[in-house]
Symmetry: C2
Subunit: 391 residues, 2 copies
């Protein structure tokens, strides 16, 4: 298949692009390098020493003989170039990672809220409008988030996108209806993914676009079999308070002997997935498109759930570092239960990488190996969900 990967230089996009290339798909990466520029803004670096994208691609070519093309454009701003690219490449699928993906970053200030909404919504809308204008039948595979669901609204397991509810009809009877699961996003970032769902549902209904939306859990881990093949292919690893995901932050902290920073009680249960499985899931989704006219297909892209405090305890024991409880900057329930259905991807053949088997490797292979690159001052989370009252 011909596949364009939007955001193909990022944490999920890069290993996914390599995985797809390695499966003999013809890959074009589109990226505006915004994630690297945000590193500059925040004064942080990936723990792993990532090289510039052209060098990454040259290394991949050298090692595998495979070409991956790179086009530097902003999906939400450079519409005419995006449309021209669709006409030129005629892709079978477009994988859409071209969104600002950190909840804390989206909450840093009013500017960051506005950047995240403007960037994410215009990227998705421009992509969908361009596909319609191109007249092509291109399958969109989008990275959504488990955070669109109102966690714990019923106590029942979270279904894959659609929920059957009973509604009262005009005659006063209760009848079942399948609706998009009610949402309750926990940050501006998560809110943009809820708005993306509205865009997908609309273009799917009006223009019969084929869309798969992958509601992903929190990603952990760093490398895949492809990114391990050469140091120049290494994936980024974020440990800072904005972009570091909770488990990777614990691993980094363990590696340098820093107390594990748990916000609040750590009573929140979250869904997790290894980066290796992210790449596999995207390939499964891309190679199994919905039928033309089928509603938006929604998969829960996660493999296990854990309470944050339990993860901290597990790593604390493994690594002999204490757990430190800090104020929770988020505006969220202190505790929640979480059960999630993920049959769709398992049925397509996903074999999950479980935490218990991969955690130690990750600490040794990545966190300890690059520990001397860590800037401890970047570990604390500084974004707050609600403004402090002014003095």
């Amino acid at each position: 298949m011909k596949i364009i990967v939007l955001g193909g230089d990022g944490f999920c996009g890069w290993p996914t692009a390599l995985h797809l290339s390695n499966q003999d798909h013809e890959i074009v990466i589109v990226d505006n390098l915004s994630r690297r520029k945000i590193d500059v803004e925040l004064g942080v670096s990936s723990l792993t020493p990532i090289v510039p994208l052209p060098q990454r691609l040259a290394a991949w070519k050298e090692i595998t003989g495979r070409d991956i093309r790179f086009v530097n454009l902003d999906v939400g701003k450079d519409y005419d170039r995006l449309l021209a690219l669709l006409h030129q490449v005629k892709p079978d699928a477009i994988v859409h990672f071209a969104e600002q993906r950190a909840a804390p970053y989206s909450m840093k200030s009013s500017w960051h809220k506005r950047y995240t909404v403007d960037n994410n919504i215009n990227a998705t809308n421009c992509l969908l409008a361009a596909i319609v204008e191109s007249g092509q039948d291109i399958h969109v595979v989008h990275l959504g988030t488990m955070g669109v669901y109102g966690y714990g609204t019923t106590g029942a397991p979270i279904p894959e996108g659609y929920l059957t509810v009973h509604v009262t009809t005009g005659e006063g009877k209760l009848e079942p209806r399948e609706i998009l699961h009610p949402t309750s996003p926990g940050s501006i970032y998560h809110m943009t993914k809820v708005m993306d769902q509205t865009l997908f549902a609309y273009y799917n209904k009006n223009d019969r676009l084929r869309v798969t939306d992958l509601h992903q859990g929190i990603v952990w881990g760093t490398n895949t079999s492809e990114t391990k093949r050469d140091e120049r292919l290494v994936n980024r690893f974020d440990y800072d308070g904005d972009y570091g995901t909770v488990l990777n932050r614990f691993l980094m902290q363990a590696a340098i002997g820093h107390p594990l920073t748990v916000h609040g009680t750590g009573g929140q249960t979250r869904a997790f997935i290894h980066i290796r499985d992210t790449a596999r899931c995207v390939e499964l989704a891309a190679t199994n498109p919905p039928e033309k006219g089928e509603r938006v297909r929604i998969f829960n892209q996660m493999t296990e759930t854990h309470r944050v405090a339990d993860l901290a305890q597990m790593i604390s024991k493994m690594a002999g570092v204490p757990v430190s409880h800090l104020d929770n900057p988020r505006n969220e329930a202190v505790e929640n239960e979480l059960q999630v259905h993920n049959d769709c991807l398992l049925d397509l053949g996903l074999k999950p990488t479980k935490l218990e088997s991969g955690l130690m490797d990750e600490v040794i292979d990545v966190a300890k190996r690059y520990a001397d690159r860590c800037d401890r001052s970047k570990i604390p989370a500084t974004s707050r969900w609600v403004q402090k009252p002014s003095a």
Copy 2:
């Protein structure tokens, strides 16, 4: 009260601003004059001869002695000036009409889709972010649309925003939950109002913003008691295929002896409200804010429902012009039933202006009076919801 009216030069915004001013509220109009610029783009004019906004305001001052201030800025683009204005004015309420409001215009081309999404979503998000950053407790009154609801999903009357459904709990019991009514927007324009709902729900939950969202039916009529006081105060009247609302188009067509253009069977039932009641409803909403911490308050701002074909028949008989059935450019169900609850505004004291009592006045006072200003070539609707397959 001090009230800022965003979009206060437009079809709903202008009469609302005057009505609020006449009720002794202190009014600031914010507008980027985009609606007048779209007239230039489309080569159309309001049937009524509207004068530039500064002349409108000078006339209002001359007649009533009341000042209305005008600030020309783009709510979605000129964030710093918007924030400075909030600090300066310290409004009690902001009425938000600053969105592109025509469904056919939003479907004209890929550019129009992207303009509508970018303009409407950034306007709403910038407004909400600015209120949070200002630290002020400002009530937002937003013009939504009845079009957010999936019309006719249950046969039961459409509630005001929230629907009680029964969900299956973890123990397998059916329990009631109140959710935001499922949506099914019929155009890019309507989709932006669905996305606005997500923005309001989020900022209301995270920042406790006070928001009233008015899901308005199709507006008809032209003038209010305030805009009738001087010809320089006259409200705009659109009859073209993009901005003309269905009933005003019929009135115009009747006045010039043009067949009434019904798209498809006209079997769609729609909700209607007179422009006079729009202005009254906004004042009722603004002066009855939700409590701090209360969820987003949603009112259905409509006063009656009619089948489009029945309206055409009624006016056809009144005016002696035939009905002409054309292809429906929209992608929608041919027929639908529609019952709507609108108790909230009636309970606050709204006395509706009904179609039967106001229709003839409208034909005589406006459509016939200005008939010589009509450009017949602008009557057909040219926007199509789905691209024609290329040859």
